[in-house]
């Protein structure tokens, strides 16, 4: 697909990467770093699942396993001063943005050393210094926030972009439509990333949305759109590069529908398969595990060999084990913390 065709408003890019997809503009270190990041997220989430089962993590815990290429590919195309918001399935985005595994794991454990000092938990990972502005728990509720951040960027005549991650179930929500309409109406530098993992909890896309192709919703707002293969980190990265360019240079918002798949249940308390999807379906999707897809490509291109992959994996496992030990040993917030951060002046106004 040519850049020109891509710039045509309302023209979706072809999903998938059937054609050869050159990586010549990416150095080998970058390509390996993406594999490392995806492995880190995978091992972090596996460890979080384990800690949840042991009762060390409470509440809800929504794992990102299967969708790693989306966070890693999109965040690789962003700049350090861009703004990011995400839904409650945001551990992967936080890590890909540069949050330490220790700060993230300690937050899941509710500890004072967590990124949100133990007051946010799994659904509210936040690090303002990284522009990582949540971690939001109401489906669709954070989409207008991103429009507001993009508004602030335009207001201050900056060249940042504001990026929002949400699942495909959020596009049936009024907040989504209101937010996208204003972003397009006011020509704001926003990118709306719909991670279409096929299921809103246990409800399949076609049981919730009157149209199957979610990117078409952008047509209502004369907004740029693309459909992207979310299991191939390079394809994700390239689509995001185009969206970032449109936003940063032309103040054109984009709706990216990134098709992916959730390998786990909706949250740790939900089954992986059962009434709403079959074991066979999950197994079929696992064949396009984003880590497998990228590993195979890097091996084929001579960027890394099996030994190198094992070494990266061992490295991230050790990082995650360290984070786990750190979080487990870390202190709970002081009892007095109950009464801080309610207002600027503390617990009472």
């Amino acid at each position: 697909m040519t850049a020109k065709a891509d710039r045509k408003r309302g023209s979706p890019a072809a999903a998938g990467a059937a054609a050869p997809n050159p990586t010549s503009d990416l150095n080998a270190d970058t390509q390996r770093s993406w594999l490392r990041q995806m492995l880190l997220i995978r091992r972090f989430e596996e460890k979080a699942g384990e800690a949840y089962s042991l009762g060390k993590i409470g509440g809800f815990c929504h794992l990102y396993i299967g969708q790693e290429a989306v966070a890693v590919g999109t965040l690789a195309a962003m700049r350090g001063d861009d703004y990011i918001t995400a839904s409650y399935r945001e551990h992967g985005h936080a890590l890909a943005r540069g949050m330490s595994a220790r700060a993230a794991m300690a937050e899941l454990f509710g500890k004072a050393a967590g990124c949100s000092h133990g007051k946010g938990g799994s659904m509210h990972l936040i690090d303002a210094s990284l522009g990582f502005l949540g971690g939001h728990g109401i489906v669709g509720g954070h989409i207008p926030l991103t429009t507001g951040m993009a508004f602030a960027i335009k207001y201050r005549e900056e060249d940042r972009v504001a990026v929002c991650y949400f699942g495909e179930a959020a596009v049936n929500n009024g907040a989504f439509h209101e937010a996208l309409n204003m972003a397009a109406l006011w020509k704001l530098p926003a990118i709306y990333i719909c991670e279409n993992n096929r299921y809103g909890m246990g409800t399949a896309l076609e049981r919730a949305s009157a149209i199957y192709d979610i990117s078409e919703r952008a047509l209502s707002y004369d907004m740029d759109r693309e459909v992207v293969d979310g299991q191939d980190v390079l394809v994700v990265y390239q689509a995001m590069q185009r969206a970032v360019k449109r936003a940063r240079e032309n103040k054109h918002p984009t709706l990216l529908e990134i098709r992916t798949y959730r390998f786990m249940g909706h949250s740790m308390s939900d089954p992986i398969h059962g009434h709403y999807r079959t074991r066979e379906e999950v197994e079929e999707h696992r064949k396009r595990d984003p880590i497998l897809v990228w590993s195979e490509k890097l091996k084929a291109d001579g960027i890394i060999d099996e030994r190198g992959i094992k070494s990266l994996d061992a490295d991230v496992i050790s990082e995650v084990e360290d984070a786990y030990r750190f979080a487990d040993a870390a202190a709970d917030p002081e009892p007095g913390e109950l009464w801080t951060d309610v207002y600027a002046s503390g617990g009472t106004a």
Partner: protein, 327 residues
């Protein structure tokens, strides 16, 4: 001192704060080209331009979220709701985001936003346009709720609200917009969280806010003719509630009636009564009574509407009961 309307006092507050701080902007339905549904924003578009006086689509949830998002990254939005009835569509953004970002981020993120517009009833606007929601917002830790009754307080409190680092729900009165009063020009700030004795008295305390301040003052005048000297305490801020002023007054008069426009169940008055009985039970010479809106959706018919509202005769009747002059 200039005598201006409540509407113009609000306009003055917004204009002055926008001149002082380039991060302050106003957004909402009809605030720009139309000059404001209630003309509070008259002239602001001309002075500040469309980037700072932003006309929005009719999309309360969306533009409230835009305001909160902009506040999260350092702007100071004034989000105008045409009325608080419509703001129910936006309550998710006010309650789930604005009120909670500071806490759930462990203190990293502030939301210095003002949500403002008229609340309560006007005249014959019927059930969906005549509701007082202050107790809903006052229930939420993380929010401040401010309700000025006079032009001077409207200006001073709105300026304070715009400068506040926390989200402020600022509820005006549609029936107050044309009321006039003396308003200091230029820098004039009324602190949030401080009630005001609008009339000093010794026999009974009338605790009120927003539109019911004038109801209480009228009742006090008529009571004076009967030899009853009522003190009128205007709460001005619902949250944080000024316990000190309320308790000092009731400790002096030993009797109190709380007057509010909203419904009685879990209303603002319920909180005030709780504070009084908890803190100064022994000072009371009679149970504290409440005068509220009737516990029904607002009827359209003007006689029924009048019957539903808190008015001076109802306040006078309640005062006579707390003074054991009538049963």
């Amino acid at each position: 001192m200039a005598v201006i309307t409540y509407r113009d006092a609000l306009n003055q507050a917004i204009r002055e704060e926008m001149r002082l701080d380039p991060s302050v902007f106003l957004m909402g339905e009809e605030v720009g080209v139309y000059q404001g549904a209630y003309k509070v924003s008259r002239g602001l578009l001309d002075e500040f331009g469309p980037m700072r006086v932003v006309d929005t689509p009719i999309t309360e949830l969306g533009f409230a979220g835009v305001g909160v998002g902009a506040a999260m990254v350092g702007l100071r939005p004034i989000v105008e709701f045409m009325t608080w009835n419509f703001a129910l569509l936006a309550i998710d953004q006010v309650v789930n985001t604005a009120a909670k970002m500071r806490y759930m981020s462990g203190g990293q993120i502030s939301v210095p936003a003002v949500f403002r517009g008229p609340g309560g009833s006007a005249l014959q606007l019927a059930a969906q346009h005549s509701q007082a929601f202050e107790s809903w917002y006052a229930h939420i830790p993380g929010l401040k709720v401010v309700m000025p009754a006079t032009p001077a307080d409207a200006k001073g409190l709105l300026k304070s609200a715009i400068r506040d680092e926390d989200p402020v729900v600022f509820i005006e009165g549609e029936m107050l917009y044309n009321t006039k009063g003396e308003v200091p020009e230029g820098e004039y700030l009324t602190p949030i969280g401080v009630a005001d004795v609008k009339r000093a008295g010794t026999d009974v305390t009338l605790i009120c806010h927003s539109k019911t301040v004038s109801v209480a003052l009228k009742a006090a005048e008529q009571l004076a003719a009967d030899g009853i000297d009522a003190e009128v305490v205007d709460l001005r801020t619902i949250r944080p509630l000024d316990h000190e002023t309320v308790l000092a007054s009731v400790s002096k008069t030993h009797r109190a009636v709380v007057v509010e426009e909203g419904w009685s169940f879990a209303g603002v008055g319920a909180q005030v009564v709780d504070v009084i009985q908890r803190e100064i039970f022994d000072e009371l010479d009679s149970p504290v009574l409440r005068v509220t809106g009737a516990d029904v959706p607002m009827p359209y018919n003007k006689h029924l509407e009048k019957a539903s509202k808190a008015d001076p005769p109802k306040v006078i009747a309640a005062v006579k009961r707390v003074m054991y002059l009538e049963s």
